[in-house]
Amino acid sequence: MKKQLIAVAVSLLGVTHSANAEINFSGFGSVVGGIATDDEVTVRGYTDDIEFKQGSFFALQAYSDLTDGLTATVQVRARGSDDWEPEFTWAYLSYELDSNWRIQAGRQRIPLYLYSDYLDVSYAYHWISPPSEVYKAPFDSIDGIASIHNFTVGDANLDLRLYYGQEDFEAGANSYEINNIISAVASVNYGWWTFRSSYTQFEITGELGLGPLVDAWSATPFPQVGSDLDVNEDDYSGLEVGVIFDNQDWLFVAEYIPSSLDNGLIGDYTPWMVSVGKRFGSAQIHATVGEDKVEAYDESFKQVPLGASAELDALIGATQTVIDNNTYTRPFYSVGVRWDFHPSVALKVEYTNVDFEGAGNQGVIQTALVTVF
């Protein structure tokens, strides 16, 4: 799929070139350094050794107006965490049916969150990146089609979007396949206010590395427990509501994302955050609080009687550990500053503290140079 996409993208670029259409290049990037305050606990992927690779990335975008309402956009992003191997995050053709309605076909961003569309464009917001405690989806682009409708009602700008697509991706050692992604987004922009709500559903199949446990359960009278641990064509559904007030002096952001993966280990998760910022000339200070909250689904597991056999008890023990590891509430807060010291570059410094229940409060200090060009 990725290879096909590259072929399409390259041929698109070829077409525009031969048609002498102008190709506009632009880009953005973040160079991020981070260090955890404790030598035992990893926070946001950072340890107590200062590290500049994993949060850093650059992206290059090519855009061409093919005339007659058609445009082509290709965005390639290389992340330090992927050993700078470039990947296509966006590659789509857009067709303008009229000045208020366009269709986008190809690879594009899945609009799960308030900041999804410009997740990587750190220059466009106050944090170094939106809190990963809240924005937890391990993938951010899909292959599909979108209908985007914007219009004005009085002084309000409305934006209604509908997406359909699929995606496969790897996260850590696990690989996933997502199908029948349907997402609907409505946002309203009124003066300095933006209200947004989205609903997303899809089917997910993944290899979580729990095969032996699933197999062991299927040999017991309680195979349902195993299939609950497994992520096999499980249904995800998620709602998101968010608001941004930004009068270029004060900034207020709030977002709540109640979502669930039916009958699965990932279960229900209901992260939220509230962020406030204030600008002082070319500097902006900000503070954020929120909660990373996950509850593994354990309905059929709870039905299994203890003490039936030593073997079953051992299985219960192992499964309990997995469920416990996937059931937690982690409050976090962060404070940071953004300084626009240059017309195209901003310097950001941020301290984040996460309360890991058992492992206690743990901090991470991150600093970044973010740019658009």
């Binding site: 004005t152 070319s282 195209s344």
Partner: protein, 136 residues
């Protein structure tokens, strides 16, 4: 003592007045459209046009002090905030920022040569090849 206070107040008023005068002297910005333009947007509509929310006219940006004043007064932003606004849209297919022209002369020739163009120049540079919507 009372007199000193009075004097301080007077100085403050004077200084403030001088500052006000001096800023208004720096550069007046004239927002201009093609002389045949049927569209006569007011200031808030001009802001919508330069932020890509209203597509009735094609906006042209400029550089330097004139642009800073326009972005500040009409778009209620500073230069970085304007850039951040467009970065947000441009990298998500949400539109292209207004094309940036290099000088007042270039803006005047572009606007006078295109029926749906809108731009802004130093008020002192305005000539009768364009129509002035308003001056800041």
């Amino acid at each position: 003592m009372k007199q000193r206070l009075m004097l301080n107040k007077l100085t403050l008023v004077l200084v403030t007045a001088m500052m006000t005068i001096s800023t208004s002297v720096v550069a007046d910005v004239a927002v201009v459209v093609n002389s045949s333009s049927a569209e006569m947007p007011d200031q808030s509509k001009v802001a919508q046009i330069f932020l890509g929310k209203d597509k009735s006219l094609t906006p042209f940006m400029q550089k330097g002090a004139v642009a800073e004043e326009f972005i500040d007064k009409v778009l209620s932003r500073n230069a970085s905030q304007y850039k951040a606004y467009w970065a947000k849209l441009a990298f998500t297919g949400g539109g292209r920022p207004p094309k940036e022209l290099g000088s007042d002369a270039e803006v005047l020739s572009t606007v006078s040569g295109s029926a749906d163009a809108i731009g802004f120049v130093d008020a002192a540079a305005v000539n009768d090849s364009v129509k002035v919507l308003f001056t800041l």
